[in-house]
């Protein structure tokens, strides 16, 4: 959590209106998901990389490491899709019963490029916005207040619960607990999970009490004043043009 929170954007994307970024990301991701052809997919990836440039992450190494991690599921595509049992076609390489087909390889490549493009755009937007501003903007776009507030509280307390978990497991370790495939171990883990739940409940009650003591009447104040700046108009326009160009590459030739 603290790791993710330390990532932030320093570029113009960080100063842009969060509502625009969210709407843009939704449209952009949908477009990338449905477009056809390697050329269009590559163009989409280029657009997403431009977003990362605009975000200009504070710690590029950590940023790309996280991005890579988020794309690790692509490994499964490359383990299955290129071969003749998934996508039949012209065999270009074989090893025993494994036959890789040109069509399979092309499909895997296209899917990978698309996935990378979508996750890149999503990371650029979230990193440049920050979790709580993102929630506030989602609220501004009409999401239910309770849902946004619950997510905000969860983000705030996930670390506190994590610390509690750390203390409990440390207390188990200093008494010689070691994870084994035994009933004792399972029972201990169940106790640990139960204790975390009970403490979470107690914590929730205390937090509510503290809020009541400060005159809380059920309203959360997630709203912020928002203005649509020239930067936002410019970004929105550029993004729309990029989307149009990518769509043209995908479907423009076919009528």
């Amino acid at each position: 959590m603290s790791h993710a929170s330390a990532l932030s954007g320093r570029g113009p994307l960080a100063r842009a209106d969060s509502r625009l970024k969210i709407v843009g990301l939704v449209v952009w991701s949908a477009l990338l998901a449905v477009l056809e052809g390697r050329r269009a997919a590559t163009a989409g990836l280029a657009g997403s990389l431009a977003l990362i440039l605009l975000c200009s992450p504070s710690r590029p190494r950590a940023f790309f490491k996280t991005l890579l991690l988020a794309n690790s599921f692509l490994l499964f595509i490359w383990l299955a899709l290129p071969f003749s049992f998934s996508v039949p076609g012209r065999v270009v390489w074989s090893w025993g019963p494994l036959k890789a087909t040109a069509e399979g390889l092309a499909l895997s490549a296209e899917l990978s490029v698309k996935a990378l493009a979508i996750t890149s755009a999503a990371m650029a937007v979230t990193v440049s916005t920050g979790a709580f501003e993102l929630l506030s903007a989602v609220r501004a776009l009409g999401a239910p207040e309770k849902l946004a507030a619950m997510t905000a509280l969860m983000l705030r307390y996930i670390q506190v619960v994590g610390q509690e978990y750390g203390r409990l497991t440390a207390a188990m370790k200093v008494r010689g607990f070691r994870p084994r495939a035994s009933l004792h171990c399972l029972r201990s883990w169940a106790n640990l999970a139960g204790m975390l739940l009970v403490r979470g409940l107690d914590r929730g009650e205390r937090v509510r009490a503290a809020m009541l003591c400060r005159g809380w009447r059920g309203k959360f104040f997630l709203e912020r004043e928002r203005t649509f700046k020239r930067l936002d108009a410019f970004l929105g326009l550029a993004w729309a043009l990029a989307a149009a160009a990518t769509a043209y590459l995908s479907w423009g030739g076919v009528s």
Binding site: S5, L212, R214, K219, F221
Partner: protein
């Protein structure tokens, strides 16, 4: 004659399945009180504070806050923010992502505008010597800083007094010193529950001990 900020009379309360923890407890806090409340673990100190704040209801007895008798939740709603309660664990009190938003929460609840709340936040940070802490993320603060901010959330309500529940737990000596200075600088009357005798020696002018579910001067 001035009227007391808090008056508890003949409180009786017990948790289910256990003997009564409060057995006719009386407690009065005056506008110039600097009062310490002590007693062994489980004697009912925190229970008494919860009753003052209206978080639990006594089985018997009378609760008067700022001269008004309080029975139901509705009676407490307006009075709670005027008592400036600081919880033992700052993580319970600070639920917002950033320090600034947490300090603004109380004033916003009381009907302040965004601009007014922002002003109160700046003021509060200044009194605590935490200038520039507004955008800081709460979970990145040290224990001592969290405690000061928790005190700040109470001060931002512009309360008539402060109630501190075990304020020195988890704090090192330097943080206790900062807290001490900050509380004294407010000039507000207060009620402190604490086991820390040294801290009470420096802070309070009178002490009550809870024994057998009743208070007596110490």
């Amino acid at each position: 004659m001035t009227e007391p900020l808090i008056r508890l009379a003949g409180l009786k309360f017990g948790y289910p399945g256990r003997p009564d923890v409060l057995r006719g407890l009386d407690l009065t806090v005056w506008p110039d009180s600097r009062l310490g409340l002590v007693g062994p673990n489980g004697c009912g100190k925190t229970t008494a504070l919860s009753i003052i704040m209206g978080l639990i209801k006594p089985r018997e007895g009378r609760v008067e806050i700022l001269g008004r008798e309080c029975r139901r939740e509705a009676d407490f709603l307006d009075l709670r923010p005027q008592l400036g309660f600081v919880f033992q664990d700052a993580d319970d009190q600070l639920f917002c992502p950033t320090v600034g938003e947490d300090l603004a929460f109380g004033p916003l609840n009381l009907g302040a505008s965004r601009a007014q709340a922002a002003e109160i936040v700046q003021e509060t940070l200044q009194t605590l010597g935490l200038e520039g802490f507004g955008p800081r993320v709460t979970y990145d603060l040290s224990g001592g800083e969290k405690k000061l901010v928790a005190l700040g959330t109470a001060l931002a309500l512009k309360p008539k007094m402060l109630i501190l529940d075990e304020p020195t737990t988890f704090l090192d000596r330097r943080s206790i010193g900062r807290l001490e200075t900050a509380v004294k600088a407010t000039g507000l009357p207060f009620l402190i529950v604490s086991h820390d005798q040294d801290f009470l020696d420096r802070m309070v002018e009178a002490r009550l001990i809870i024994e057998e579910g009743q208070t007596r001067p110490l």
